[in-house]
Symmetry: C2
Subunit: 430 residues, 2 copies
């Protein structure tokens, strides 16, 4: 590990340690460059089977680090069962469970398929996927067109009809509209929204409004005339419609930033309701995990902590590219969820700068005189300072009737970061 050289080290060892430090700094600088320089384009919408790498008809993806079916959080199991029914892989929930027990229906993390999913993240073959592309590296990433039911474990005929409608009506309109515009530049788009009250994790009101403003003229041209109003209404109803776009964009950046040898920067931060997982650019495909934490939240009427699933979802991918908690000073209205004064929220944003390897170029903070948001979480800095990037998140119920029971703030545990630092130290010694 990158211990500072000490006076009583032999000279050659001091040189080596210092050399390793320089290598890490150079590697992290390259990772930060990959996180902050490329533009990402929204190129279209298609069903997962057609576009998601490795997707097949019996595969269901979920959020967070890898977990066995039996250990999965109940709400995530329920979403997976819902997807199995939606895809007509099973006749009943019991049938689905049996096939999942035996591996006849397969499951895998979204993250292993260039995909991210909010909350339970459940994604299956015939769902409509937003497709984004990293302009510099050419890699693509994917996220479901935002829906608000199955991701919270709810499944019934209405939910399935909505998934059909997203695929058959909204998806083609978005696909046609972005193609008519030659592709929508998501980093630029996100940077605008960041100056308009969004931090683009828990709050995407401006990003969604700007999105519909840009796409609406083309949607009116490409969609069937009798569908235009209902498509536009989707973007009026759902403040978080943009979350899928920005999550996919963040995944397209982090995938391209992954695999830089000697880098200690986080390229994935994901939760499955049981564990929080971290991946590090220089540490290959290994996930470092710790227990998913309870959310310090505000609950809806009739709900309390006993109804809550612990921290869940891939959405914290946006924190790894300088959004969400890394931009919370821009979203004092959303910050109100966490209580406290404006100055406290701004201070939280400053604090996160202590664990970042760099600053964003595109994402800036007006109230801090347009300083770039902290970007590239360095696991060494997290362990050294004890600062973990808190996440603003929705809370999923943990039993029927499922659904969203609240929203709040959660700090990922230190364990995955400590484990990553240890693994890094070991890899250096080898």
């Amino acid at each position: 590990m990158n211990d500072p050289p000490e006076e009583n080290d032999p000279p050659e060892e001091r040189a080596m340690t210092s050399d390793i430090g320089a290598q890490i700094e150079a590697a992290n600088a390259e990772v930060v460059r990959r996180l902050v320089e490329p533009e990402v384009t929204f190129v279209g919408v298609d069903v997962a089977l057609n576009v998601v790498p490795g997707m097949h008809e019996r595969l269901i993806l979920y959020s967070g680090p890898p977990i066995e079916w039996k250990r999965m959080a109940p709400v995530q199991q329920e979403s997976v069962i819902g997807a199995a029914l939606y895809e007509k892989l099973a006749d009943s929930p019991e049938d689905a469970r049996t096939q999942l027990d035996t591996g006849k229906i397969e499951i895998a993390p979204c993250h292993h398929h260039a995909t991210v999913g909010a909350m339970t993240g459940v994604t299956s073959a015939s769902m409509a996927m937003l497709i984004v592309e990293n302009d510099e590296f050419g890699n693509r990433a994917f996220c479901k067109v935002v829906e608000r039911e199955l991701q919270f474990g709810i499944h019934n005929e209405d939910v399935f009809a909505n998934l059909d409608w997203l695929r058959d009506v909204v998806g083609p309109a978005l696909d046609g509209a972005t193609n008519a515009l030659g592709g929508l530049k998501l980093i630029h788009h996100t940077s605008q929204a960041l100056h308009m009250g969004d931090e683009c994790h828990n709050r995407n009101v401006a990003a969604t409004a700007l999105l519909v403003r840009k796409l609406a003229p083309s949607i009116a041209n490409v969609a069937p005339a009798d569908k235009v109003s209902e498509i536009l209404d989707y973007f009026d109803r759902i403040d978080q419609a943009y979350l899928g776009f920005v999550m996919a964009a963040a995944k397209a950046l982090t995938d391209a930033a992954h695999g830089v040898e000697m880098s200690t920067v986080v390229t994935a931060l994901a939760r499955n309701g049981v564990e929080v997982g971290v991946r590090v650019s220089g540490l290959g495909d290994q996930w470092f995990t710790g227990p998913a934490q309870d959310i310090d939240g505000a609950y809806g009427p009739g709900y309390g902590p006993e109804d809550a699933t612990a921290d869940i979802g891939d959405s914290a991918i946006v924190e790894t590219v300088g959004l969400g908690a890394m931009a919370v000073a821009n979203a004092l209205t959303a910050g109100a969820i966490a209580g406290g004064t404006a100055e406290e929220a701004i201070q939280k944003n400053r604090t996160n700068m202590e664990i970042a390897a760099g600053r964003s170029r595109s994402f800036t903070i007006p109230v801090l005189d347009f300083e770039g948001t902290p970007t590239g979480i360095d696991v060494r800095a997290v362990v050294r300072t004890g600062i973990v990037p808190y996440v603003l998140t929705g809370i999923a119920g943990n039993k029927a009737p499922w659904g969203r029971v609240g929203a709040g703030v959660v700090h990922p545990p230190l364990e995955p970061f400590i484990a990553a630092v240890k693994a890094f130290a070991t890899s250096i010694k080898e």
Copy 2:
């Protein structure tokens, strides 16, 4: 005038002075209440002839305090001539000038007809007007559907075709859409935009995006299918599309707040490029004027101060209800036009609190822990402190080819405020 009582005043005079002070405070509190409590609804669009009180076919309205045709700023004259040609009142610019010289074509301030107009403000009988209504007082106010050419003195067949299109295509769609929604609540709408980077004078990006987001589903239902895309495109092209809505809303509030005896609060702040005019709630229909100031601006390529019309337009009506400069801490991005740091912009906003009789309830400043924006400019406080509410504004050219030559910051002169205080003192002594 409200001099503080002095020890050596006779007791009855002290009592009277103190009584006058209390009367002024009570009157100003009522004016502030009228500025901050009512909701204002966007109820529809119609041509000026049908809805603007006192409008007739030979009348052309203009921005700012009253001014004779011959003294009018050249750019405002040019706009009036454009309107005369558009309305087919004249065959040529020369013919229009002759009829304006002789009074055959009449002119009047927008403000005298429950109307406000941006820049030259020129408004004539067949133009499409946004109609808003004060929910508490029932009075209506009006502003042109935003166009960007005639208001800067440009008139030609394209400009006239655009005015036709606004009246025949955009107007009916807006009218149908807001009616389908039961009327759009503009104070609520504006308060949202204020938390999204707008101060709703120089910057209306969020307000416009939120507007199209809300109205688009209904526009798609009520407009002819082949027109939906071009209508939605209007709101994508024009960041300031919302300015007309918020100006009309401010006029609906200030008209209802006008005429409260003993009040020293400003109910109109308007400029015509030659003079700045102020009206005060307790001082009847009199305008107090001073010279329009040069704008400290950033100019477009090829333009400089020698090409600029001095401060012009009714848009400063929004400053009188707690928007624009009164909310600039919310719009640090727009504030960048004026240069300086974030803290300086926030400080400017704080400074304006010294001249305000109250605080807004709906318009708040997140970075100041959601304090209400300063609302209700008290002419006494302006004179006492020397603080004039600076205005962010566009700059109109002063010769052909006319148009917008830049944008900048301008401080109205102190003269109108001093004149108003003197008039108030005189009225008290009578």
